[in-house]
């Protein structure tokens, strides 16, 4: 279900007033302040840190606050090889993140297991958490991660917001009435 993602604004007519749908506005807020939770496991974590540093500034996308606590984060960036031993706590941290949440699988190891086809490596983090954007590369260049972030922003800005909330609200009400 696509929503209006454009914000209609004609300064001559409206002056300083912006007319838009609530969905579009909420999505605009969400997309431009994605707070990542860096699940930095291996070498990709170094490129993730480089993205946060001053050359490839991630804060111009609104994502400068790398929240290590899952309760305060929007997007989990899985950077590095996920082993079977790590899969348990990774899922646990993902579950602790509040909705809405997204996952970026950064690098070849997180996307598909990478070049480690061995007994101890989980062949892709999408075996345990649902992934929104996959970034290829070993490690991906910081520009690639920023491109992935932009794609994620585009995905976020087309997600219906209010319909979901009202639908849930109606569902709760139905259960109350039935009970």
């Amino acid at each position: 279900m696509q929503t209006q993602s454009e914000i209609g604004y004609n300064s001559k007519i409206e002056g300083d007033v912006v007319l838009t749908t609530v969905d579009a506005a909420l999505n605009w807020f969400r997309a431009n302040s994605v707070w990542p939770m860096p699940m930095g496991l291996a070498c990709c974590a170094i490129e993730l840190m480089a993205v946060g540093a001053s050359r490839f500034d991630i804060s111009r996308f609104g994502s400068e606050v790398m929240r290590f606590s899952p309760r305060q984060a929007d997007c989990m960036i899985v950077a590095g090889t996920v082993t079977y031993k790590s899969a348990g706590f990774l899922k646990r941290i993902y579950d602790q993140m509040p909705e809405p949440k997204w996952v970026i699988a950064m690098g070849a190891c997180a996307s598909t297991g990478g070049m480690y086809r061995s007994y101890a490596v989980l062949q892709g983090v999408d075996n345990v958490v649902p992934v929104d954007v996959y970034v290829g590369g070993c490690p991906p260049r910081p520009e690639a991660l920023l491109d992935a972030l932009m794609k994620l922003q585009k995905k976020i800005s087309t997600q219906p917001v209010l319909q979901n909330i009202t639908a849930l609200h109606l569902l709760d009400k139905k259960e109350e009435v039935a009970a």
């Binding site: 079977y84 031993k85 899969a87 086809r117 061995s118 007994y119 101890a120 490596v121 062949q123």
Partner: protein
């Protein structure tokens, strides 16, 4: 005091327990016949010969041969700079040898790793548990008869494993000096 002199001193002390030192690329290796005496040999090397630094402990799986395990100790003396390699064999039925934790405390984690990867136990080790794989992992991964892709396990709450997609196995050449036909890269069973 070169490594060869130290090796000769060690052989003089322990006699038949230690074979003649072999040399390859400038390194001296000594084979110790009885794995049970490794603690005495190592403590002699540390206290009398000045080998105060244990660089590494490795294990080798001689699949198809008996004794199956070879444990390799790399010693170094920081004062005289000499390096020595000690090797002992352990048979598969026994799969156990004394721990040298009393000689060098660094062997704690090396021995835990060898137990985890190969399944060789160390008697006298206070805390022999898995270090790289999780507790309760049923296999010993570095053995030659364990496939690279791994075997499926299922430990609820801790982990699960599935075999990795290797599409018929790693196509690899054979580690030996045999003829080119046997060394052709293809998928191999643990025949070697």
């Amino acid at each position: 005091m070169t490594a060869l002199d130290q090796a000769q001193k060690l052989k003089a002390r322990f006699g038949d327990l230690i074979a003649e030192p072999t040399e390859f690329r400038g390194e001296i290796s000594l084979k110790i016949a009885d794995a049970e005496k490794i603690f005495d040999v190592c403590s002699f090397a540390k206290t009398q010969l000045g080998f105060d630094y244990l660089v590494d402990i490795s294990s080798v799986d001689n699949y198809g041969e008996d004794p199956r395990w070879t444990v390799v100790y790399h010693l170094r003396g920081l004062n005289h700079g000499a390096e020595l390699r000690l090797k002992t064999d352990v048979s598969e039925e026994k799969s156990e040898l004394p721990s040298i934790l009393g000689v060098w405390r660094t062997s704690n984690w090396h021995e835990r790793e060898i137990y985890d990867m190969m399944g060789i136990r160390f008697s006298g080790h206070p805390d022999l548990r898995r270090i790289l794989m999780w507790e309760g992992y049923p296999y010993f991964p570095l053995r030659k008869d364990f496939p690279l892709a791994g075997k499926p396990t299922d430990l609820p709450g801790v982990a699960f494993t599935k075999p990795a997609p290797l599409e018929g196995g790693p196509f690899v050449t054979f580690p030996s000096s045999a003829g080119a036909i046997s060394r052709e890269p293809r998928a191999r069973t643990p025949e070697e």
